[in-house]
Symmetry: D2
Subunit: 294 residues, 4 copies
């Protein structure tokens, strides 16, 4: 038997994220691999085979089985692998993160202990402008001069704020109230435990280009950390998940493509039967991925 | 204000399912529609607009908004609509059903009360043969003579079994033990409460042709029951859900289709880069839906 | 049939909480009461009776049944009642609140829309000191002069911060980044939907004297809002829940009390077999509730 | 580092339950203990200390901390330990078991594979009579002659039924339909993964004397299996959980006891202010545990 974390992680160091944050893989179930196994993927196949009541008989390779399970969105076998992370992130990132309810969390309590003097500041070239297309996204870079000015101001506010916070505590104000003054870029940390099925859902959403860059960094780091632990699953996920390399065609897009394909003389790129501009733009994106020039 | 169940259901009758079962829509949240609203879809749009902090301002119609939310797999606004059903089904159906964990259930207790004398028997033409292609499915009809013989035998077993069950109870055996003898086609019933997001997940899986026919009947009945309650949502679901009229192309299928489309002289139907027969068969199914002759 | 919200709430006004927040009961399932029923408690009894397969036969009154279910911690019948609230609270309150995972939430998005200029400031007599006994609580009042000084400073910071936030937005900075500067007392809002069983768990924890006063205000407001909707349930909750008027005696406390009761000559108040000071203090609290002078 | 399962379980054998069932502890998180640790309890303390942001500083021993967390019903630190079991049980037991929704399950599929020829039959002295006091319980032993007769009949039914099941399969009937004839005492099996907090909730309910004996056997076996893995937690659970050695006194019972204690001349045992017979009986049970003669 071998210890997957010992083999792969050699002491489980922190993967730095943003300026003061990190993700650290604390534990994984299964952590110990039976002889002959080289990754935790075996636990997924083992659970699935229990469903099939096949016992030790392996009619399909683990890889084929896992790819089948992923294509058909089977969830329970992937729930049989569990990960525990130690993470440190700014509060505004933590607030997005915690929306995923199917995880266990122990967060540092600002009622119980004093917050530390750490605040997130983006790098100069990562101070971003508001997207004009997608109302919830950013898409460009703020001019460096302006960005520098904002960063300097933010830094000063953070320092002043933290000074005030410390003063309030010294003057006897309750921690649970004094923390109110701290801005949303102050760092917090937590233990976060989640099964692989729900983690992949989290990662699909948070590795997506539409996710805020500041949380994407953490999701990308987790993909790096778990890929050597469940390589077959991650390969299947990359091939079959619609937020990775798969594409979901809506009913309207299927119709459009079908019409195009049945037409003899290859007309203009297909158009969908919808006047909704956003929906058209989404189809154009997919059509480009299929090789159309739109 | 109008009461959606009063208007639409006129007393909420039971929809019969199988020979002795039923589904009944007991309640829905929101049950009362504000003036000017005609379906519970409004509650989904209302919750989504809170996210956007748009208040009463409606930049998009409810229909456009709901279609957008469905295309992008937003889940929380659909959780804001809740359904409560009263259902009666054979135990083997109940066992599939209960695997969906995100619902509230109050089931009749065979420890507390006596099971009634009702057993599911398929109709003669619905006694099915084992599929040779899909190991978990049925796909044909058993010869009528043989089917009749099996049904007769099942009926006799059911009667004998129930007689024995009643004898055991009369002799003082505990209900919790006496029930052991009852077969898996005996009927049970429950109250089942679930939000629309999780219900649509249940329905997508259980209306699917690969679901067992005996549970599909219930799922189909629920689709009928909720469609007049959330018509915009159900329209969007039919258009955008991969288990309805949308299709998810895997990364390999996207590559195959892209190669085909970029080729000048329209060669043979595209093939995917996989030697897995099951995966090839799945692609052939999708290719046929796109109009290819395979 | 009568509409419970129409009768009781007359338009469902907001209950103010803190200086700019509120809770509003948006909806309840069941919202419409059958003839002869006067509260939503009936839906709990109805679901429980389905478990007992008693149909319309009422061997016990709804009140007795609900009290039995509450004493024995039955959870599923209480899940059959659902509440939807619209709430507005400071972010540090929202962060405590969201730890309860068994609810549906649609929160205002600071990526999508601009945060409004509203910040929580406690009332002068509610600026609290750190408890020296309980490391996570506050327990006194800061001297008014000092409190006023802190409030003035907080107000100034809030205004400066919001000014900076608006400047950043004007200069084109992405909303998702600009919000970083806003402090944790800025207000956010959400739709929050939860079943009665999980709501009572939330309320038990958040109405407790150890909960932070700033979230207790919301919990207390919700108790007021739902009591006329499920009066029998709330009566039972107050009598039977350990965080209300019931008391859980640990094994050590049972032993201490038993020894005391069996002793002839009523000695000194009983002591538990533990050297842990915190545990002793907890027992002293309970002993006082039982009438001992400790 | 040491492997907790290797040390404690020496190959993780099956614990037999009932006549053909078992529970096997497949895995635990954390499975590998850091140097200096002797049980998985450390992971609970470690997660809780993250909340307190105390880092490596241990102001309280793990035992004191875990006892504190258990007394105060903290849930999230206990969620940080995860167990995976392989279990085999009759279907009527599986149906009770699966009502606990906060676990991951992969069950043998009777659509995919043939059920095996194994049925539960209680031992002669364990054929029980219906309780006359508690409508959902059993409480005595059926006369041996009668019990033997029932067991013989059950055995014959099981054999006949299984024979018919096999005939149907041979004749080509779909597995998903043929299984209908099998009785509720046929065995099934599954992988079951659950965190410690939710497992303790399951165990509290299923080790309780009111639970059906046939599921209690499994719960008791799991208590045996996990006690050496988390000994401090199980010790605390036994002392502090109301379904173990703690007692919850309702508000009415607190009043009764207080009146009794404040009375000078030790009158008759205290009575509660309720005319409900069941509630009175429950109090009598507790009063007896406190040493009163009732």
């Amino acid at each position: 038997m071998s210890d997957i974390l010992e083999t792969v992680y050699q002491g489980q160091p922190e993967t730095p994220c943003l300026d003061h944050g990190f993700v650290r893989l604390v534990d994984v179930m299964p952590r110990v691999l039976p002889d002959g196994e080289s990754s935790c993927d075996y636990a997924i196949a083992e659970a699935a085979r229990t469903s099939y009541k096949k016992g030790t008989q392996r009619v399909r390779s683990d890889r084929d089985l896992i790819r089948y399970l992923m294509r058909h969105r089977h969830s329970t076998p992937f729930e049989m692998v569990e990960f525990k992370f130690h993470c440190k992130m700014p509060i505004f990132v933590a607030r997005q993160w915690i929306r995923h309810r199917t995880a266990s969390v122990n967060e540092q309590s600002a009622r119980y202990s004093q917050m530390t003097d750490e605040f997130y500041l983006p790098e100069l070239e990562n101070v971003r402008t508001q997207s004009q297309i997608n109302k919830q996204c950013s898409d460009g870079q703020l001019p460096e001069g302006l960005a520098q000015q904002i960063l300097d101001e933010l830094k000063e506010y953070n320092e002043q704020t933290y000074q005030a916070y410390q003063n309030y505590l010294k003057e006897g104000m309750a921690r649970e109230q004094a923390r109110m003054i701290l801005p949303n870029n102050v760092y917090t940390e937590w233990y976060w435990k989640i099964d692989l099925h729900n983690l992949l859902h989290f990662l699909a959403l948070r590795c997506d280009p539409h996710a805020q860059q500041e949380i994407r960094v953490y999701a990308d780091a987790m993909v790096e950390l778990i890929t050597p632990v469940v390589p077959l699953t991650m390969e299947a996920w990359n091939t079959y998940h619609p937020l990775r390399n798969a594409i979901t065609l809506t009913g309207l897009e299927v119709e459009a493509l079908k019409d195009y394909l049945s037409s003899q003389d290859n007309p203009a790129p297909p158009a969908i039967d919808s006047t909704n501009k956003r929906e058209q733009a989404e189809w154009n994106d997919k059509a480009r991925q299929l090789g159309f020039s739109i």
